[in-house]
């Protein structure tokens, strides 16, 4: 088990796709933000404003960045989505993830 210390946690959840994707917002002392979330099986499309690091803590999915081929993550892994881009996911199991919003 890993953990974040001395953080601020927004109590209310972020809820998308009728609850199939949900997350909690975590604010860090250095001003950065992450979300810890769950995705249930399904196909999803998301858009970024900042660059995002998507760390898969558990679960299996395929992801597709704009202009790229589909890639697969099984169990754990990381991928990066440029700022102001749309990306697609095919989620095959319950996925536990941590999304970091990068200022570059």
């Amino acid at each position: 088990m890993s953990q974040f210390e001395n953080v601020t946690l927004i109590k209310e959840a972020n809820i998308y796709f009728d609850g199939k994707v949900t997350s909690r917002t975590v604010l860090f002392e250095d001003g950065t933000k992450r979300t810890l979330g769950i995705m249930l099986p399904g196909d999803y499309e998301f858009s970024t404003s900042l660059k995002e690091e998507m760390e898969i803590l558990a679960g299996n999915l395929d992801y597709k960045l704009a202009g790229e081929d589909w890639e697969t993550i099984e169990g754990s892994g990381v991928f990066y989505v440029p700022a102001n881009e749309t990306f697609q996911l095919k989620v095959h199991s319950v996925v536990d993830y941590c999304c970091s919003y990068l200022t570059e």
Copy 2:
């Protein structure tokens, strides 16, 4: 939006009922623990070890404590479950909750 400050957040999610119920564990400076969770529609049964305060942040459900009648919460509300007891839930919408584990 309300928030918890100066907390420790366990990164990995707690996942139950094939992802229909998930939560994150939050540890407080005073040694107490809470979980922030999501329940999707369905019928569930849980058991407590410590006394629990179940704060419904959003959503609609019915709950039944041992030996009591069914009660309804719509939108927001709180109920308490004694230690070492089983309780039942009928969740009618996506429910966002905060569970506090009380030492009495």
